[in-house]
Symmetry: C2
Subunit: 189 residues, 2 copies
């Protein structure tokens, strides 16, 4: 098992979500999908969304597209960007079965980055869930509590960015560390 942390509104989280299963299975591992909220991490780190930073923001937009091409993936920059992904997170953590949660995660990523659907809107999250036969109860207090607990647990483990992968206790931040993860899964170096 390897732990895959991401925010549903993160471009590199989205790109990584299309690479992580193959990377893990190449080494006989499975993936634990762990959505978190970058907004909560930013409170801890003083961070702001990449695209809003002078100079860095312009570079970042170019880098999303080029990095996607480099990895043989498609990228489309959604608007509005970024969005609050708490409803998406709650929908994920409301699922009793992890395989349903993962199906939903993939559908939410595709809706936002592929179809430009604003998954910051709870109604749109419900609509995406319905297309794959799910009806999450995102206003349930137990679901809200579980989501908060999962996000807090991620922060407690030091997860400050997206994607963020933990392999046997070793942390890797960014799609650009997937080459290091690949080598680490062969043998820690």
């Amino acid at each position: 098992m390897i732990d895959f942390y991401f925010d549903f509104s993160s471009p590199f989280g989205y790109l990584a979500s299309q690479k992580i299963e193959a990377l893990a299975s190449k080494h006989g591992r499975t993936v634990k999908w762990c959505p978190m909220l970058l907004g909560a991490a930013f409170k801890a780190t003083g961070g702001v969304p990449l695209t809003q930073i002078p100079l860095k923001g312009e570079y970042a937009k170019r880098d999303f597209f080029r990095s996607a091409r480099f990895h043989g993936l498609e990228y489309r920059h959604p608007e509005p960007f970024p969005v609050n992904t708490v409803a998406a997170c709650r929908a994920f953590y409301s699922q009793a079965e992890r395989k349903d949660a993962v199906r939903l995660a993939k559908a939410l990523f595709k809706a936002y980055f592929g179809d430009n659907l604003n998954i910051g809107e709870p109604d749109n999250v419900m609509q995406v869930a319905a297309t794959i036969g799910l009806a999450p109860n995102i206003s349930d207090q137990a679901v809200k509590d579980k989501t908060k607990a999962e996000v807090d647990a991620a922060l407690a483990k030091g997860v400050f960015g997206s994607p963020y992968v933990i392999v046997d206790g070793e942390p890797f931040w960014g799609l650009d560390r997937f080459d290091q993860i690949d080598r680490w899964l062969k043998a820690p170096f």
Copy 2:
């Protein structure tokens, strides 16, 4: 020619400095070394030194060492860190011959990251220069002006980090984009 921007106090700048010449020459290119001041860039981006950021700072220190091992390089974290590199920059830009400037850049990186010499101190910069037969006049006003003009020119090109490489107008930030530079030098994608 490819343009290689870096700060003398940047860990990934240091690691990149040991990879950039081979990467360029593999594709029949030469390297233009362009030291800049991250402090000036941080004023534009609101950035702070990586190691001072909660959560990210702890990760970054681990990542310096692991990334060095991944690339087959040695790393030693200097103290104090980071240091003001304006004297180092001035020593570089004071050189009439680019080959002397590049020899000095390599010597300064080695002094700080290899021998833990505080190159934030102008006296130490002079000492390093002396070991390779150079005697830069870092208090000369023309040298100060040239240095400021070079740093401003870097910022005007959007250089906000270290290392930052520009290949035929295409910007790449970070040692972790060297794989993309390698492919770009074969053919833009």
